[in-house]
């Protein structure tokens, strides 16, 4: 035993087996039903956009990590998630070069300039979408119906309710690739929740405030829950840990805030849809929410008989 070299490291000496990679890959698995539904409804255009966006995001991340002389960590899957998410929140007919540009911006401006994974204040995929919307307003708001590919307004732009609820649930309506099928999104959400990667507080907070706001303004609750990107945003965008509060109370506030802003935009704003901006706005106030909702430290403010 003379040549025994022992490792000396600080405690604890055991660690949980979960890793960041496992959580990002679980998100990718959860997105599979959504991708499948979008291919079913919109054909190969869906695959084109998701693959190009994903590839561009991963490539941009790798290039930036190289430029910043950091270890190349694209294997953690986080850039791929951003790319796939962006691909799923653009119109099906968007030109390839536009979605690539969006993915490059999402990673470069949305993530890497802040210091990479964990440092970005805003959801990178939504930053990419916001930049695309600002740059290519027409292409980003040209929607088409599934299967027959006829240009059409989204249900939210039409504001119509009657007879559309089953279509909204299964997804055969005009809209972004991934946002149309509530069923596919919910499947993914249930999987993430089951794996322990989805904190229910934010989605539930969003749904609760959308329901309350719909009732107050006398609009259809079901329509507002299923239409547009609300479900997709609530389950895949608003729960991004990096850009949302770290406290439990803060996550409730974040959820309520997103739902409230969505309904304000939908009801009184000039955009038909506001999920992306609602999440980005709440991302912006996340540091403040964290400050307001700091938990009481154990033993502080305790009165004793002394």
């Amino acid at each position: 035993m003379d040549d025994l070299k022992l490792i000396v490291a600080p405690s604890p000496h055991i660690r949980d087996t979960d890793t960041t990679e496992k959580s990002t890959f679980a998100t990718l698995i959860a997105l599979l039903p959504v991708v499948a539904a979008s291919v079913y409804f919109f054909g190969l255009d869906a695959l084109r956009l998701v693959l190009l966006s994903g590839a561009a995001a991963v490539a941009t991340e790798a290039i930036f990590q190289r430029l910043r002389k950091q270890p190349i960590r694209v294997g953690d899957g986080s850039a791929l998630v951003t790319g796939v998410l962006l691909g799923l929140i653009v119109p099906p007919s968007l030109p390839s070069w536009m979605v690539i540009l969006g993915a490059v911006f999402a990673i470069a401006i949305g993530k890497q300039v802040f210091g990479g994974l964990g440092q970005n204040p805003f959801n990178p995929a939504l930053v990419g979408r916001a930049i695309l919307t600002a740059s290519f307003a027409t292409a980003m708001t040209t929607w088409r119906t599934p299967f027959d590919a006829i240009t059409a307004a989204t249900p939210l732009a039409l504001g119509e309710v009657s007879g559309r609820i089953p279509d909204l649930f299964f997804g055969s309506v005009a809209g972004s690739l991934g946002e149309t099928s509530a069923l596919a999104i919910l499947l993914g959400g249930i999987y993430l929740f089951y794996r322990g990667y989805l904190d229910y507080r934010i989605p539930v907070g969003i749904f609760a405030s959308v329901i309350v706001m719909s009732l107050i303004t006398g609009q259809s609750v079901i329509f507002h829950l299923l239409a547009g990107s609300l479900l997709f945003g609530a389950i895949f965008m608003a729960v991004d840990p990096v850009t949302t509060p770290v406290t439990k109370g803060g996550r409730w506030i974040f959820g309520f805030g997103v739902g409230l802003i969505v309904m304000l935009i939908r009801t009184w704003g000039s955009y038909p849809e506001g999920v992306a901006y609602a999440i980005l706005l709440m991302n912006a106030v996340t540091p403040l929410i964290n400050r307001w909702t700091r938990p009481r430290i154990y033993g502080q403010g305790v009165k004793t008989s002394e």
């Binding site: 035993m1 025994l4 022992l6 490792i7 000396v8 490291a9 600080p10 405690s11 604890p12 000496h13 055991i14 660690r15 949980d16 979960d18 890793t19 960041t20 496992k22 959580s23 960590r73 953690d76 986080s78 990479g116 994974l117 964990g118 440092q119 840990p241 990096v242 949302t244 509060p245 770290v246 406290t247 439990k248 700091r294 938990p295 009481r296 430290i297 154990y298 033993g299 502080q300 305790v302 004793t304 008989s305 002394e306």
Partner: protein, 438 residues
Amino acid sequence: MRRVRSFFGGIHPKDAKKSSSSTPIQHLSAPETLVVPLLQHAGLEAKPVVAKGDEVLKGQVIAEAHGAISAPVHSPVSGKVLAIEPRAHQSGHSITAIVIENDGNDAWVERNGHSDPIQLDAKTIIERISEAGVVGMGGAGFPTALKLVPPKGITLDYLIINGCECDPYSTSDARLLIEYPEDIILGAQLMAKASGARKIVIALAETASEAYAALKEKAGSIEIVTMPSKYPGGGEKQVIQCVTGREVPSGGMPHQVGALVQNVATAWTVARALRDGEPSISRVVTVTGGSVAQPQNLMVPMGASLEDLIQATGGFSQRPGKVVMGGAMMGGAQFDLQTPVIKTTTCVLAFSEAESRTPDATPCIKCARCVDVCPAQLLPLKLEAFGMNERFDDAREFGALDCIECGACDFICPAKRPLLQYIRFAKMEIIARDKKPS
């Protein structure tokens, strides 16, 4: 059996107790030489009262308590003092130890046991506990006699005997409870009498059905409760909260909420000291881990080396990567197998090379799982960042000093960040700055 309320946060590591919990405690015969450190407790080193070449008897005082917080040290065997010199110590520092050559005679010093020690008055009980060098044997090592005297004007409502043993791997308290229930109950009664505590509660892990069965017949008026089986259920503040519903104030002491917590092994040692007149010279140590051939609990004389323990359990079954003294969550990794067992050594873990690998840290993704598990209700990810950026005022403001260093945040972190290490750093800096006159 009352099942108490839970506490905030906590983790559920694999308990890894099975391999060592089922077999009875084996007695390790004292090795040829023993290295007995002067520091086996919280506070100041004891002062040697023997010199090189002296003959000593088993149980003889070889070093006296020195300073306000300290404890005497006794010889675990009869024999000869070979040296008094710095040796490797569980803490990772080099600490003066009395090296004793065992003469194999097992010749005891005169023992002043008492056949019915509960008849002794409180003052005498405390004196004898102090003379026997009894310290908190759950790992903290605070001299027990000092803990038994609450400040003037304070009455203790509860004496809680902590048998939760929430650390994975450790089973020494569980085995003590199963094999020596009378001793533990006697120790508890003695400490209750000494401290004036009104009620005795023994807190067990939810899974400790065998220990419960051993205790319940003999418990009498002592209440036995079970704690939620999550780590750190055995933390002092957590046990108090679960048993009494009271929260120890930040920076405060358990007596402020009328509670006194003592570990199971401490109660056992107290009983032996008062009834049998045996000072604190041996303890039960769990020896386990992926590199240990026959994981088990050993009754070990203080001063036996890690190597002695490993050999007694069949030697290394495979090359070890890390050898830890004192539990998988809070123990210290050792570099020298000659490091001796002391009063606070609950557990010796020899991890295989595969078990010892430290994963690389990746960026924090703010998943906040550390926030969810922190029993002190802190924001570990924030404290880590403050420590890293040397923002010590912010670290203090965010409660760094309230951290109990349980390591739950490190355990749960999916990015494998050394959160606790940076929090410890911030704590040390804050305490050092407070001491420095400005």
